[in-house]
């Protein structure tokens, strides 16, 4: 005689298929997206080949397209953002998790997270009307006078440039880095801090060997998440970067980013090759983000492994 299945197992089956379906859906959308972009950019791929990656000219009138200025703009603004927001975010996290009294901790922690809630178009407006004049009239002339011998700070200050884009991005990714780093530092067991203190560590030494060393994979993770956000950010960057496909070593130069050119030009793409070239820019952005995430995973993995036979959380 066949045994009757207990009713509960139906629930489990439904749960398993439903959750499995959602997982497949996410992966499916990912692949579909990549495939569609590949197909749509075929004309451009065929026409320019690998030269598209290294092409410096973007001239829709003469049907010549190259993506290098956009790749350059995206990478440089993101790196500027990381260089600025990384140390500051880490500093905020250390202050909040190790130094601040409980009340300050919750108030400042909340305000930092509030920073993430500002819509990027509002930040962009602020970047145009407040940051740009300030950079163009005060910061950049000063930097040019003091450090003008470095190509990075060479040229006429305008305020609408790579530096502005990088700064706006830094503001946008700061909350990500600060709040996630703070979370992982707060999660470090107290016994780790006490182990360091009991050996005669000062406060800073305790933070270094008891907290940062323990939390480093999480901290790297927070920086990578911030970088991911910076690479894809469109609105705020396009408002302050100048939207000119230039490649200049100077941060005072106008530039363009991948996300910005797609957003700005897809309505003007009047013929197939133009649209296809834009699609290929999207494909490159997609690939860069993907590669970066893989690289980040490897980095976290190798750092987290630590000494032989060990494991970090």
């Amino acid at each position: 005689m066949k045994k009757k299945r207990p009713r509960a197992s139906w629930g489990d089956r439904i749960l398993r298929s439903a959750s499995g379906l959602t997982a497949v859906l996410v992966v499916g959308i990912m692949i579909w997206l990549g495939w569609e972009m590949f197909v749509s950019s075929r004309q451009s791929l065929h026409q320019f080949g690998w030269a598209f990656l290294g092409g410096r000219v973007w001239d829709p009138v003469h049907r010549i397209f190259g993506a290098l200025p956009f790749i350059y703009g995206t990478l440089v603004t993101s790196i500027v953002a990381l260089v600025i927001a990384g140390p500051i975010g880490l500093g905020v996290a250390i202050f909040l998790s190790e130094m601040a009294p409980a009340t300050v901790r919750s108030v400042v922690g909340f305000l930092v997270e509030l920073l993430a809630a500002i819509p990027s178009v509002v930040l962009g407006l602020w970047g145009i009307f407040v940051l740009a004049p300030f950079l163009g009239k005060v910061v950049e002339p000063w930097l040019g006078r003091r450090l003008g011998f470095i190509p990075l700070f060479h040229g006429a200050p305008v305020g609408v440039d790579l530096l502005n884009g990088g700064l706006i991005l830094a503001i946008m990714i700061l909350p990500t880095i600060a709040s996630i780093s703070r979370e992982v530092m707060t999660a470090v067991p107290t016994v780790q801090r006490e182990a360091a203190l009991a050996l005669g560590a000062t406060k800073w030494e305790m933070i270094r060997i008891g907290v940062l060393a323990y939390a480093k994979s999480g901290i790297i993770g927070s920086v990578i998440l911030g970088l991911g956000r910076a690479l894809g950010e469109t609105m705020a960057v396009t408002m302050v970067i100048g939207n000119m496909p230039n490649i200049s070593p100077s941060l005072f130069s106008t530039a363009y980013s991948m996300a910005a050119v797609i957003a700005n030009e897809f309505t003007e793409a009047t013929y197939g090759l133009y649209l296809s070239a834009l699609m290929e820019v999207g494909l490159i952005l997609f690939a860069i983000t993907l590669l970066l995430n893989i690289f980040a995973r490897l980095l976290v993995w190798s750092v987290a492994r630590g000494p032989k036979g060990g494991h970090l959380v």
Binding site: P101, A102, P189, V191, Q192, E194, A195, A196, L197, A198, L199, G200, A201, T202, E205, I209, G210, A213, Y214, K216, G306, P307, K308, G309, G310, H311, L312
Partner: protein, 249 residues
């Protein structure tokens, strides 16, 4: 070296008073056990001896503790803790460091950079902690790759490497199995030749086995303090007798 003299020590967590005026003489190069039921203040007491209690927010201390005649409150806690080492209830090696790096972590904090010195100190401390034979060929392995008992001995080696004169142990064997516990107890007995040892334990048999002196704490008060044999065979206080005969706790 390593004689501790506690004078009317009181300690608070915020408004809550955890120690009600403790006075005791902890003799050098002896094992002193602190026993008592949960919440009696025994951990608080031992954490006052290296000023670890002070690091908690809202914590407060009054009274005085003299180490070899000098108040521990007259020096910065960072320096005090190099003289008064501590081993915790749960083994807490630094997971990002190898076995070797764990042992020399304290010396590196002191600014010691010479390889030969660090190597020698690591071997000496690991030998004292009776761990050398088990780990000498895998010093570059992670500290957390060891078993729980080995990790605890690693933490003892780490504390010994800075050459303290007092070693505080806060229930060092409570998270370990009986065999690992026995090894820690043997180690404590061997170490008292060199160090003053104060050990908190909830295990009365353990106190009876390893301690020269025993202090019985109850509700933040030091009820009785004396040679272990006397505490366990002819306690002067009724409450001590009740506790060691298992009537409560």
């Amino acid at each position: 070296m390593g004689n501790l003299s506690v004078r009317n020590l009181e300690a608070w967590y915020g408004a809550q008073k955890a120690l009600l005026g403790i006075t005791a003489e902890i003799p050098e190069k002896q094992v002193t056990a602190i026993i008592g039921p949960s919440g009696c203040g025994k951990s608080t007491f031992i954490r006052c001896l290296n000023r670890m209690h002070d690091t908690l927010p809202g914590a407060k201390v009054s009274g005085d503790i003299l180490l070899d005649g000098k108040s521990i409150y007259d020096q910065h806690p960072v320096f005090l803790r190099k003289t008064v080492g501590m081993v915790f209830q749960k083994p807490n090696p630094f997971p990002s460091m190898s076995i070797y790096e764990n042992v020399v972590a304290g010396l590196r904090l002191n600014g010691e950079r010479r390889k030969a010195k660090l190597r020698a100190a690591a071997e000496k401390s690991l030998r004292m902690a009776a761990l050398w034979d088990e780990v000498h060929d895998r010093l570059n392995y992670s500290g957390v790759s060891l078993s729980g008992g080995q990790q605890q001995r690693l933490c003892i080696a780490r504390a010994l490497a800075v050459e303290p004169s007092v070693l505080l142990m806060d229930e060092p064997a409570s998270a370990l199995d009986p065999i690992a516990t026995q090894r820690i107890e043997e180690l404590v007995t061997a170490l008292k030749k060199t160090y003053t040892i104060v050990i908190v334990t909830h295990n009365m048999q353990q106190a009876a086995r390893i301690a020269d002196f025993t202090a019985f704490f109850l509700n933040g008060e030091l009820v009785e303090f004396g040679p272990t044999s006397e505490i366990f065979t002819k306690p002067k206080d009724k409450r001590t007798e009740d506790y060691i005969t298992g009537r409560f706790g």
